[in-house]
């Protein structure tokens, strides 16, 4: 104990001006001789005269400023009240019970202060001063200390970002904005770039406001438009587009580190978080005033219903708080980390302050103290957060019920009816053709024609003796069944089967099946019918899942049930390398564990037939091979039964859709109201005194109202009306248009942030924004009508040198598309983008969840919806979003990085998703008959411009020289367009 204490009370000043004190020991003696002062001001005078200089000389070297030896700070009343690791340093009025007095008087020889290696003990007179001060009740006027966190009070009071906004009645006009920008340019003698052309401008504006390129028709109409207000009308049209809310909302989701999973050790899904996501999109689409946007996210559940836009919006909006990251094995045990995440994100999101830094200690640079942190922590500790479930605590709870749609009962009834219909249909189908029935019918007249085993790497003829001759009746079925050995891995098996009628009139062969495999199952061809089946102990069933490619290889087609069993074909004229190299133009089967893969052929007419073929291992891997049986199954009626069963299997049962449920939100409500204790050094195991809930001291420190609530409602008001919050959002909107904000560090307006490049502009925008009611769309209109926003990005080297990074906006900064914009643009070019809003993700039903840290939730859901709707996981980055610098789902992302790495180029070379989009794009182009029209359309769709004559010639040359058919050539050209810099960048 003594050693530990000595260790933490370290770093005392090396020189001791103790001679100074001998002089005022006399003063002290005099002071002690007078009666105890009767008033507080006498006490404070004593403090100022005697105590403050003593503390400054002998104690504050280690226990003041940003140093707090042993956790103890003596530079404020709050400091010694909170005390250090040993508890409060002073008990006013009780010198003998005060650790400070005991330490300096050497009462405990094991830990005297200052420590022996830091200088001499205090003189008796000095000890007497401190003892007397404590006896008088420790009067100390240094309430709050000279500093708040890492700034002293004067500095904090003068900090630019905390100043009131200037007077304003409206936003600055575009001309006024340009004038303010122009001043900085003129000062440096920079002549800005001229305006971009119309084509560049509409593409820029469309990506900026909707995240999507304009259609070729929109581009042409804009260029043809001769009206003076065409830019304004374009911006209005884009702002009114539903795509705008989604795009703008996704930018907000970056800032609030939105995710669809909880982030604790099992990364549980948040099946209701989407409601918050969609609320954000709707809020931007509706241009909700920003102060209300803030209020609803922090305290929408507490705002009077009349103030909300929709019945449930207030509750849903608090999803902002609920989506806070959860930590650890048992979320409740690490809830202090979730509160930190909330406070940290709140500071960064709305205030541009790193409030989370003050959990363990006062902020090192900004005016935020640990007391500030715990004053806010109390508000969130008094709030009940929806609980996502965790490994030791099972399923979710505390989800917040929403008012159901009025027609919920009717919707439920309709759904139940659909379920009943589906069940009835399933029963009807089973009555016609269940596995059992198909198995039973197959046994009639069944006989085995041949059987054998195929060892690793072998090829075995169906019958060693040569062709098999057999008499068959119409409707009888020839079945080739392949079963796995004891080990069911690496059992890709090549099958060849040829059936020739005795009269020579008909020949049916697997070679004919190969190119047609994916077209149907059952596959009617040449008078006979082929069926692709699997067979378990209960009987056979059709392989119902069609695949038009395997492992990204479009030449591979399959019918399967899960991964295996399957029947698949390489339709290409060359071998394809996947898990093994599959020979060209061949048919394969892959049995599963306890499930054979079957190839069945329904005999078209009575007669004699000659059957030949072979079964060969197609994936030698040192395992145990397969076995096969060739048989005749069923009587004359079997073929018809099988064909009908196949037709039924090919018609999927109608999906009744998800059950309409009472809606709930992942949101917050008021909890058990209490103040949170300060955690010494952030350690929840070392609780200090409770800190009353209040606003940040630097903004006045107003206490929460004594209405019995958490204080969240008041907090929402403080944040929403803070001038800092207005500066922060205005700066974000600026950054969303120009790539970099007026303050480049959009999440940090504190001491470590970057100062504004145009401070007056920022203030006038913020003031005007407030004056006009906080409408973000008004900001868009003002900014996008400036000459700065219209400037060309293509400029000479002198401007690039004079204005690096376009911080002064002498030219428009070129940018790469974001991950979402890339994916949406690919889908759009492919003609596949589904712009309708998405709702819930297809998570597994809650009742089935048994996620553990050993088996956490993990999924990637593909969709043709806009990428803003992709399911974002905290523990596993979405592979596409991670590759193209998507937002961090664990921490606020103020701006996207743009990295250029070769794995991105590999995506454009080889990714199956990319190839499919290019192929679909090529099919769109291929639908045009005229070769020149195809090239024109390709340029207009990908680049929003027609090709030049040289480009058109070159494209025609490429298409002529590229091997393959029309579609293959166009697909190759589409890949080139979609991989190019022009497609990927906005000028």
């Amino acid at each position: 104990m003594a050693r530990a204490l000595a260790k933490t009370w370290c770093g005392m000043p090396k020189s001791h001006p103790s001679e100074r004190y001998t002089a005022w020991a006399a003063v002290l003696a005099a002071a002690l001789s007078i009666p105890a002062p009767a008033t507080a001001s006498d006490g404070e005078a004593f403090f100022e005269r005697e105590v403050r200089p003593l503390l400054a000389a002998r104690c504050l070297g280690c226990h003041g400023g940003d140093k707090a030896g042993g956790g103890l700070s003596l530079d404020s009343r709050a400091g010694w009240e909170a005390g250090g690791e040993q508890g409060p340093a002073v008990v006013p009025g009780e010198p003998d019970a005060s650790l400070l007095v005991r330490a300096v008087s050497g009462a405990d020889p094991d830990w005297r202060m200052p420590p022996p290696d830091h200088g001499p003990a205090l003189a008796p007179a000095e000890v007497a001063v401190l003892r007397e001060w404590v006896r008088r009740g420790a009067p100390d006027p240094r309430v709050g200390g000279a500093a708040i966190g890492g700034m002293d009070r004067d500095e904090a009071a003068a900090w630019w970002a905390f100043q009131p906004l200037p007077e304003a009645t409206r936003l600055p006009t575009p001309d006024e904005i340009d004038a303010l920008l122009g001043a900085a340019l003129a000062e440096r003698g920079i002549e800005p770039a001229g305006p971009a052309d119309d084509r560049t401008f509409i593409r820029r504006a469309a990506y900026d406001l909707t995240g999507l390129p304009p259609s070729p028709e929109e581009v042409e109409a804009f260029i043809a438009d001769g009206a003076a207000d065409k830019d304004t009308r374009l911006v209005e049209r884009l702002l009114a587009s539903p795509d705008h809310g989604v795009h703008q909302g996704r930018r907000w989701l970056d800032v609030v580190r939105y995710a669809d999973t909880a982030g604790e050790n099992t990364d549980r899904p948040l099946p209701h978080a989407w409601r918050y996501r969609n609320w954000v999109f709707d809020a931007f689409a509706a241009d909700l005033p920003y102060p209300d946007f803030v209020r609803l996210q922090l305290a929408g559940d507490l705002v009077p219903a009349a103030a909300r836009s929709g019945r449930n919006d207030g509750i849903v909006a608090t999803g902002y708080l609920a989506i806070a990251r959860r930590f650890g094995h048992d979320i409740d045990k690490d809830i202090h980390l979730t509160h930190e995440d909330v406070i940290d994100t709140l500071g960064k999101t709305f205030l541009g302050l790193s409030t989370g830094c003050a959990r363990c200690h006062d902020h090192k640079y900004d005016a935020i103290s640990a007391h500030d942190y715990y004053a806010l922590a109390g508000i969130f500790a008094s709030t009940r957060f929806a609980f996502p479930g965790c490994e030791p605590k099972g399923q979710p709870r505390d989800l917040v019920p929403l008012e159901p749609e009025p027609d919920l009962a009717a919707a439920r009834a309709a759904w139940q009816e659909r379920v009943a219909l589906r069940d009835a249909e399933r029963a009807r189908r089973d009555a016609i053709a269940s596995r059992a029935q198909l198995g039973e019918a197959a046994r009639e007249d069944a006989r085995v024609l041949a059987a054998g085993t195929v060892a690793e790497g072998e090829s075995v003829a169906l019958a060693a003796a040569g062709p098999i001759d057999v008499a068959l009746g119409a409707g009888q079925v020839v079945v080739l069944a392949v079963a796995a050995g004891g080990n069911h891995g690496a059992d890709s098996t090549l099958v060849e089967l040829s059936i020739r009628s005795g009269d020579g009139a008909g020949v049916w062969s697997t070679a004919d099946v190969v190119p047609r495999l994916a077209s149907a199952n059952p596959l009617a061809y040449g008078g006979a019918t082929w069926c692709f089946l699997e067979r378990s102990a209960e009987g056979p069933a059709f392989l119902g899942e069609r695949r038009d490619e395997i492992d990204g290889q479009p030449a591979l087609k399959a019918w399967r049930s899960g991964d295996v069993p399957s029947v698949f074909a390489n339709t290409a004229a060359e071998p394809v390398a996947v898990w093994t190299t599959l020979p060209a133009a061949a048919l394969f089967v892959h049995p599963g564990p306890d499930r054979e893969a079957l190839l069945a052929w329904i005999c078209p007419r009575d007669g004699s037939y000659r059957i030949e073929g072979r079964v060969a291992d197609a994936h030698p891997a040192g395992l145990d091979g397969v076995s096969f049986t060739l048989s005749v199954a069923g009587g004359r009626g079997y073929g018809a039964l099988l064909a009908e069963a196949g037709q039924l299997a090919a018609t999927p049962l109608a999906d009744p859709g998800p059950e309409p449920m009472l809606p709930v939100a992942y949101a917050v409500v008021e909890g058990t109201v209490h103040d949170a204790p300060l955690h010494q050094r952030g350690d929840p195991e070392k609780p200090g005194p409770a800190v009353p809930r209040r606003w940040l001291e630097v903004f006045g420190g107003a206490p929460v109202p004594g209405d019995g609530g958490s204080g969240r409602r008041a907090l929402a008001e403080w944040v929403a009306t803070s001038p800092l919050a207005s500066r922060v959002i205005v700066n974000r909107v600026w950054q969303w248009h120009f790539g970099t904000g007026i303050v480049a560090t959009a999440n940090d307006f504190g001491a470590r942030g970057t100062p504004p490049t145009h401070p007056e502009l920022l203030d006038r925008l913020a003031a005007g924004f407030v004056a006009e009611g906080g409408r973000v769309k008004s900001l868009h209109r003002a900014i996008m009508a400036t000459r700065a926003f219209r400037r060309a990005s293509t400029v000479g080297p002198h401007l690039l040198e004079a204005d690096p990074g376009a911080r002064l906006l002498s030219h428009f900064p070129r940018r790469r598309l974001t991950a979402e914009e890339i994916r949406d643009s690919l889908l759009l070019a492919a003609g596949e983008l589904d712009r309708a809003p998405a709702e819930a993700h297809p998570f597994p039903p809650e009742a089935t969840w048994n996620f553990t840290q050993h088996g956490p939730f993990a999924a990637v859901y593909e969709t043709t919806k806009r990428s803003a709707y992709l399911m974002v996981q905290r523990q596993r980055r979405h592979p596409f979003l991670a590759l193209f610098d998507g937002a961090d789902p664990n921490a606020s992302t103020p701006s996207r990085q743009t990295t250029t790495v070769p794995t991105q180029a590999l995506y454009f070379l080889n990714d199956p998703f990319f190839h499919r989009r290019a192929e679909a794009f090529a099919r769109r182009l291929g639908a045009l008959a005229d070769p020149a029209a195809r090239i024109g359309a390709g340029y207009r769709i990908a680049y929003q411009r027609p090709p030049t004559a040289i480009e058109a010639d070159r494209a025609a040359g490429f298409l002529a020289a590229y091997p393959g058919d029309d579609q293959q050539r166009l697909a190759a050209w589409a890949r080139v367009l979609l991989a190019s810099n022009e497609f990927l960048h906005v000028d």
Binding site: T794, H854, P879, A882, P902, L906, S980, N981, E982
Partner: protein, 473 residues
Amino acid sequence: MSRSHRDAVWTPGSCAGRRTALRSAVAGSLLMPGIVRQLLADAGDPLAPRMPHFAPRAKRVIFLFMTGGVSHVDTFDPKPALSRDHGKEIKADHPEIKDRPGYERIYLKRPQWEFSPHGACGTEVSTLFPCVAECVDRIAIVRSMHTSHSNHYNATLGMHTGSFAFSRPSIGSWVSYGLGTENANLPGFVVIAPRQTYAGTQVYAADFLPGAHQGTLVVPGAEPVANVAPRVPADRQALELAALAALDRDHLAVRGTDPLLAGRMRSFETAFGMQIAVPDAFDLAAEDDATLALYGLARGQTTGFGWQCLAARRLVERGVRFVELIDTGSSDNWDAHGDMATHVGLAKNVDRPIAGLLADLARRGLLDDTLVVWTTEFGRTPFNNTADAKGREHHPWAFSSWLAGAGVKRGIVHGATDEHGLRAVEKPVHVHDLHATILWLMGFDHERLTFRHAGRDYRLTDVHGKVVHDLLA
């Protein structure tokens, strides 16, 4: 950094012939107009090779991570007193038994495998690792490791990022950030793992470091790196790339100097090279039978820890800075709550491959400047709630790791646990200290390898970490 400066420090990989020819064929003619190269000189490529703070002992790291928590008292930390006191009740304020029903009383549980001295140094290793035991003269065992959390998720995250709760950059990303890459056709940080371990992709994430320093995941099997296998034949791809280069060149020509555009043009050249270089790195066909046998590999095998180890050697030969091998995943691993016997199969899975890797690196001279680190996220309790319990629980207070190769003392044991293996008592080494030591061997002062993010300078070791100088040769 000037190119000449780099070249003086870093020797280019030895296997460059084929790729160089290929690159120049592509680069010279089609993909790379001269101007692009000039632009790139100033483009601030995050992967450009860089100098560390001081002369490094190790130029590369192979980090062997045994996931689930390996029992120290059954592998590298012999505890005769634990056998002697088997069944004796003890008291411990242990995080895994606190408030846990059924764990009101705990009893010491003896090691299940015999220890014996090996090598000239005589270090004792249990029979679980017979092959690694033969290598003790090459390695420095740390028997006094300890960590800050008893959950897999947190301890695994901590071992990889120095943070036990929040996502932070992985150690491999820090090394990549500090050193760049020697081989432009391969990533600087590669993770070979059959499955994801605890905390998912966070264990190899670049987090706030530039995305280029993200670990590239390699899953043993047919296509180890996503999108490396060409989807169109090479001659057709060449046509497409030529057309792409022409488009991009024209696009750049009217836009002047833009490193963003030029950098992306070059990335296609690199990607084109990766299509050859990556499969080449993972193609073991050129390895002779004796080498395969060292790793316990059958010819044609593309999975298993032996494959991972041999692939790791081939990657470090080609200039990859940091290769991590994870032996299993977040389940069916060393987490032997139920029965310690599962350690047998898990040890067998890695023992010969690891010994083979050390021998192979040594005979090629690579061990002189390659650091091999073997670790797990925590140890296992030397006690359980009954004396005859078959398993052991999570134990953050003590575990064993070892280091071998560049700059590390050979044949030593560092630190010790108490007589029962409960606590690291002599020269304790925290995870942060291990990180500081690894960075030191790579030529970095861990307090100076920082990155400014959200207003703060972050480092791998947070505000902790001391270099363990006793381990350094």
